[in-house]
C-alpha cells in the first residue's frame, strides 16, 4: 500500500470512525438520561 492510500484511509476511516463512535456514545447517553431521569432528593420520599 502506498503512503497516499494509507494517509487518505486513516483520514477518512479514522476520523470518520472517531466521529461515528462518539456520535453513537452521545446517542446512547441521551437515551440513558431519559431512561434514568434525575430526581431531586426527596422526590421519591414524597411519592412514598
Amino acid at each position: 500500500m502506498d503512503k497516499f492510500t494509507f494517509g487518505v484511509t486513516m483520514l477518512v476511516v479514522g476520523m470518520g470512525g472517531t466521529l461515528l463512535t462518539l456520535g453513537v456514545m452521545s446517542a446512547i447517553m441521551t437515551v440513558l438520561k431519559k431512561a434514568f431521569p434525575y430526581k431531586k432528593e426527596g422526590d421519591s420520599e414524597k411519592k412514598s
Binding site: 476511516v13 463512535t21 462518539l22 430526581k39
Partner: protein, 379 residues
Amino acid sequence: MLEVFASGFSGLIAGFLHLSMPNIIMIVIGCILLFLGIKKNFEPLLLVPIGFGCILVNIPLADLMEPGGFLRTIYEAGIMTELFPLLIFVGIGAMTDFEPVLENPITFLLGAAGQFGIFLTLVLALALGFKELEAVSIGIIGACDGPTAIYVTSQYAPHLLGAVSVAAYSYMSLVPLIQPPIMKILTTERERTTVMKAHKKTVSPTTKLLFPLVITIVGGLIAPKGLPLLGTIMLGNLMRESGAVERLTKASQNEIANVVTLLLGISIGATMDGRVFLQPQTLIVLGLGFVAICLDTACGVLLGKVLYVFTGGKVNPLIGAAGISAFPMSARVVMREGQKYNKKNYLLMHAMGANAGGQIGSVIAAAVMLSVLKGMGII
C-alpha cells in the same frame, strides 16, 4: 606505583573526557525543562522528572540506559510493557467527573472535532517522508494526551518516544498561549459574546454509574485494539462513581498516579540521549506536534461555529476549542476568553463538557486508529 595512581585518577576524569557536545546540549535542555517545571509551573509533575531523567542519561559512562541500568529497568518494566500509561489512565478516570459532558451529550461531538488534528498531522507527517507507524505516533501528539501518545509511540515508534512525549506534554502546558489567538481569528465578535444558558442538573447517579460500563462495552466492540486505554480510564471512573471502593479510588487518584507519574517521567527523560535525540527529525516532530494542536483547536472552533448556526446562536463557538484532552486547562482558557468579550458570560461548565468529551475523544481516536491499522494489517 605512579602508574597505578595515574590509572586510578583517569577513572575520575573519564566522565569529563567522554562528555560529547550532544550530551552537553541535552543537559542544558534538561535544565530548561526543570526551569519550566519549577519556575514557570508548566506541567511540573512531568517536566521535573523528565528533565532530571534527561540529565541523568546524558552523563557519560553511568550506563543508566544500558541493560541492567536502573533507568533501563524502569523503562522496560513500565514503558515497553505499556503499563505506566495505563495505570495513569486509571488515575485520570478516578479523578475526572464526566457529568458536564453527560449534561449535554452533544458535546461529545466537540470532543471528536478536537481530534481532527491527529489525522491531518498524520497525513502531513507522511508527506514529509515519515514511515506509516512513525506518522501515526507523530499524529497522536494531537490527542493532547500524554499517556495516549506514550502508549501508541512506545509500541509503534519507540525511537520517537522522547520527542513525542516532550512535544505532547510541552504543548499541553502551552495551551493557554496557543489557543486564544486561533479562537480569536476564527470567530466573530458576535459569536464570542454569545451567552449560553446555565445547565440544570439532569444526570442521575444511575446514568453516571452506567456511563463507564456502556462506553467500555460499546467502545471496546468498535475499537478493540484500544480497549486497554478505554478500559483503564473507565475502570477508574466506575470506581469513582460507584463509591463502593473509596480506598482504591483514592489510591488511584493519589499514590498510584503519583508513583507512576514519577517513574513515567524519569523513563521518558531517559529516552533523551543526545546521540539519538539531537537529530533534524526531532525538530520536525516538535513542529508537527505544534501544528497538530493548532489544527485540533481550529477544527473544534469550526464545529462550534456549525453548532452556533444549527442551534440559532445558542452555542458559543469558543467552547469548541475545549474539545481537546488538556483537562481542565482548555476549559479554563475558554472561560477566560469568553469573559474577555462579555464579562457576564460564564462558559466554564459548557467548556468542561467539551473538555471531558475531548478526553474521551482522544482515547477513542487512538483506539479507532489502532483498530483501523489492525484492520489494514499494518500492526
